[in-house]
Amino acid sequence: AAGVIQSPRHLIKEKRETATLKCYPIPRHDTVYWYQQGPGQDPQFLISFYEKMQSDKGSIPDRFSAQQFSDYHSELNMSSLELGDSALYFCASAGGIHSPLHFGNGTRLTVT
């Protein structure tokens, strides 16, 4: 069965650079969520989209922005990167608001 696809799998950036993470949801899933997971931490909710509109916002820094496109894929844009942004970034998709979230395998971002 098709799963959530995230790219890239690994990303190394320097402080103050920008990064773009991409997420391709499971086909026919209309809801996308972004989570950040630091080492040894639980996933923290950043932002979500339903039918290409932002549906909720969590602890997402102002330096970050995201959008969902007409084909339902989503991108997380991160600017002025800081060392503390180093983490695993997960995207999850759901086939409607009453469905469980299915996660991708994440993008590991390292900021040096």
Binding site: Q41, Q44, F90, I97, P100, N105, G106
Partner: protein, 113 residues
């Protein structure tokens, strides 16, 4: 503020030694409680959703139960391949907020052959 607390933080079991993981929660307007399994460097893998107190769900060696204040994940006769971090998460009902999940910190399970 919504809280999800999992215990123990880590659990080592011998192969075949059954046990339970606990997830206690305080949330205004619970819509569902979710269990996920996470392997190192991978995304959480969906296991179960529980919606109401008294509900139980089973999958192979795993059984999840729900009360009004906590959920248990029972592991019967575990095998080494069950070693992983098990995450519990809650989702609020429509009138109480959004559909995003609030996670606990997880229980890291190690099953020794």
């Amino acid at each position: 503020e919504d809280q999800v607390t999992q215990s123990p933080e880590a659990l080592r079991l011998q192969e075949g030694e059954s046990s339970s993981l606990n997830c206690s929660y305080t949330v205004s307007g619970l819509r569902g409680l979710f269990w996920y399994r996470q392997d190192p460097g991978k995304g959480p893998e969906f296991l179960f959703t529980l919606y109401s107190a008294g509900e139980e769900k089973e999958k192979e060696r795993l059984k999840a139960t729900l009360t009004k204040k906590e959920s248990f994940l029972h592991i019967t006769a575990p095998k080494p391949e069950d070693s992983a971090t098990y995450l519990c998460a809650v989702q609020k009902s429509p009138g109480a907020g959004s559909y995003q999940l609030t996670f606990g910190k997880g229980t890291k399970l190690s099953v020794i052959p």
